[in-house]
């Protein structure tokens, strides 16, 4: 049997509450990289944003939010097939961009797809702005600033 017909490949992180298969995980990887591409700074692939997102949905979402997320995840791929003619993983970069543009415009997008997309985008952003890279190189987090200025000139702010 050709491997491409294998439906339930395994997911690469232990999930307790939501059920996601390997194909869906791969789709999440492609989607998060489309949202946050790797360029001269780390993107979703480098940060494993898709695994962070799945872990957060599994651990921190309420049951009804998880159900909506999973429904949206399935519908998202169906939407891709409908709009781009292929699953998101197989779609070209241009097709992926076109689909995300449509979703961002929010016109005639199923509620579950929007909920899934918005959650994934928010968590992808969080995986970036909460990363060691971001908090040391882009916006350095100070563990012990030792100062507070209440009227600090904006012009001097780094």
């Amino acid at each position: 049997m050709p491997s491409c017909l294998q439906q339930d490949s395994k997911v690469s992180l232990p999930l307790k509450n939501i059920q996601v298969n390997g194909d869906q995980e791969r789709m999440m990887a492609e989607l998060t990289e489309t949202i946050l591409p790797t360029d001269n700074t780390p993107g979703a692939m480098v940060l494993s944003s898709h695994l962070f997102a799945l872990m957060m949905v599994d651990d921190c979402f309420k049951k009804e939010e998880q159900e909506k997320f999973i429904k949206g995840l399935q519908q998202f791929d169906e939407l891709s097939k409908k709009k781009a003619g292929s699953s998101f993983v197989k779609a070209t970069a241009a097709q992926r961009t076109a689909l995300l543009k449509e979703i961002e415009n929010k016109k005639d997008i199923p509620e579950e797809v929007l909920a899934f997309y918005n959650a994934t985008k928010r968590l992808t952003i969080q995986s970036f702005t909460g990363s060691r890279y971001f908090l040391t190189k882009i916006s350095p987090y100070e563990m012990a600033p030792g100062r507070f200025h209440g009227s600090f000139p904006v012009a001097n702010f780094k």
Binding site: I35, C60, L135, A144, P145
Partner: protein, 569 residues
């Protein structure tokens, strides 16, 4: 079985190692008393047992969020603002220590050495006579048996040791103390301060005094504490000892004398009353590891188990002399519980000072002392409220709506544009102690040690509703007149308890018929038992109460020592 290496006789026993118990232990040990400090929970050693204290944001698995399963299993503690991924190990989980809510009450607890002093909000405003005279003037509860002059020197005594950051504001309603330097207010806070001063009689914005060592004095160096670094991660425990908690300050100080025996894992079942001697002789303790019950003895006992658990221990300390709980001759024990009303909030924006922002972090904010009904009764409700006042400039990456790919990445990595100045206040309202707000022992339900569970029946009343409404009205007026925009108000309708300022049940008073404790915090009917935690409070005023508990404790310990010397206890 029953073999123990424990020494069973001490000069003093202190029940509870938190905010006030730590002070009792320090005072006794310093004066040479062999002191047993009992703690129901585990030990927490300063720095060593603060597992998250030096963790960077990216080291937290869930970015600081408490997982949903923990929240679902523990709905009460999950409502607490300080219960986060970095601090949750210091909070009692609902499932571990159930209690009975006859009326909904969010009981927030910290069962460990240091108690809630590890996670407190560190606000330290003194009471004044406008607070102590409240019950007598307005005809509720009973008259406080003390006045400001009785406690003022003890405030100073405690403040010098703890380290309090503040400004001398010269307000009669909120007396000045022994202050270390203040952190700065923001330009918006200073603007609002000036605005209120010129627009209202007796409404003020001040820097909120807080238990932070902003400039260490020799005493703080001697304690091994250093300067506050403005981490604002205080509830994890501070590696600098920059803020006060029992773990960094009072307990090690007591230990240094060689007179302290700190015994964690020791749940106090009850206080032992000797009918022949007519006084308490010791305490019954259940060792939570061995399940063994052990009796310890001492001529003086300080009960500092935190307000409601202090009530529980007294109610469970029955004898033929005191069938309804130790010291409970008048049936008042457990009654007149009060708290602080923190329901209302207000927020807004200020369209000015665009050229300024803030830099660094500070562990406090500004404070609006009570201005309602202070000098005379002026509204259709009794007493009043203080308020926090905080401002910050949003420096977010604005909206990421519609953005993905390269555009999103550019937005996130660009220097953030400073956003609006945001302002906000929360209400800290005095509530009126009432007989109908009480705690009692549940008749059937027991904890895992066989001790009855506490049943809590505490609700808001009409006075609280009117006061909440007034806070929203007055603050809205003040914010509007000051030119704040986008004003939003809310009433959380939270159950009592989330203020974590539950007080009373063992109130002080002049008369043994109408109170349980005398002016020295001794049980009227059993004077070698002292209660100096929140349970002793006759009324609540509006100030965060820990500083007052510490001052009461130092004062009562001094009195107990003098009485011991005279052979009076």
């Amino acid at each position: 079985m029953g073999v123990t290496n424990d020494k069973l006789k001490y000069d003093a026993i202190v029940i509870g190692s938190g905010m006030s118990g730590g002070w009792a232990a320090k005072e006794f040990c310093e004066k040479g008393l062999k002191t047993l400090l009992l703690e129901r929970g585990r030990d927490v050693k300063h720095i060593k047992d603060y597992p998250t204290t030096n963790m960077y944001p990216w080291e937290f698995k869930h970015g600081g969020q408490v997982p949903a399963k923990i929240q679902e299993d523990n709905p009460v503690v999950s409502k607490c603002y300080a219960f986060r991924e970095d601090t949750m190990h210091f909070f009692v989980k609902d499932v571990e220590h159930p209690y009975v809510q006859e009326k909904p009450f969010d009981w927030i607890r910290g069962y460990q050495v240091g108690g809630k002093s590890i996670m407190w909000a560190r606000q330290t405003q003194r009471w004044s006579d406008y607070d102590f005279e409240g019950p007598a003037r307005d005809g509720f509860a009973v008259d406080w048996p003390i006045r400001y002059k009785d406690i003022a020197p003890w405030y100073s005594y405690v403040e010098k040791f703890v380290g309090i950051s503040g400004n001398k504001d010269g307000l009669a309603t909120l007396p000045d103390g022994e202050f270390l330097p203040a952190w700065e207010l923001t330009c918006v806070e200073n603007y609002f301060k000036d605005f209120l001063a010129k627009s209202y009689k007796d409404r003020h914005v001040i820097y909120a005094r807080c238990a932070h060592v902003t400039k260490p004095e020799p005493i703080h160096i001697e304690q091994g504490r250093g300067q506050c670094q403005g981490r604002a991660l205080c509830q994890r425990g501070c590696p600098f000892g920059g803020y006060f908690n029992a773990n960094s300050t009072t307990i090690p100080w007591a230990q240094k004398t060689g007179n302290l025996t700190l015994r964690p894992f020791s749940v106090v079942h009850s206080i032992i009353y000797d009918e022949k001697k007519g006084k308490a002789t010791g305490v019954r303790v259940i060792d939570t590891n061995t399940k063994e019950m052990i009796e310890f003895f001492a001529p003086v006992i300080f009960l500092n188990a935190a307000a409601l658990n202090t009530n529980l221990i007294l109610l469970n300390s029955t004898s033929s002399r005191f069938p309804n709980g130790l010291g409970n001759d008048n049936g008042l024990l457990g009654k007149y519980i009060a708290f602080h009303n923190y329901r209302a909030r207000i927020s807004g924006k200020y369209d000015g000072f665009k050229e300024f922002t803030t830099d660094g972090r500070r562990p406090t904010s500004a404070y609006i002392p009570r201005f309602r009904n202070v000098f005379k009764q002026e509204t259709d409700f009794l007493r009043g409220y203080a308020a926090g006042f905080n401002s910050f400039r949003e420096s977010v990456h604005q909206s990421t709506d519609g953005l993905f790919g390269e555009e999103l990445k550019n937005k996130l990595t660009a220097k953030p544009e400073p956003g609006d100045w945001n302002v906000g206040s929360h209400m800290m309202g005095e509530t009126i102690p009432k007989e109908t707000n009480y705690v009692t022992l549940d008749k059937e339900k027991k904890d895992e040690w066989g001790i009855p569970q506490l049943k809590i029946s505490v609700v808001y009343d009409d006075n609280d509703e009117k006061m909440t409404k007034d806070f929203i009205e007055q603050m809205t007026e003040m914010y509007t007149k000051a030119g704040f925009t986008d004003i939003k108000t809310s009433d959380s309708k939270n159950s009592p308890g989330l203020d974590i300022h539950e007080m009373g049940g063992v109130r002080m008073g002049h008369d043994p018929k109408t109170s349980v404790l005398n002016k020295w915090n001794q049980l009227h009917a059993c004077p070698n038992v002292f209660i100096t935690d929140g349970a002793c409070m006759t009324s609540t005023s509006t100030q965060n109460p820990s500083l007052t508990y510490m001052a009461f404790t130092a004062r009562a310990a001094d009195y107990a020592l003098s009485q011991l010397k005279k052979g009076e206890l």
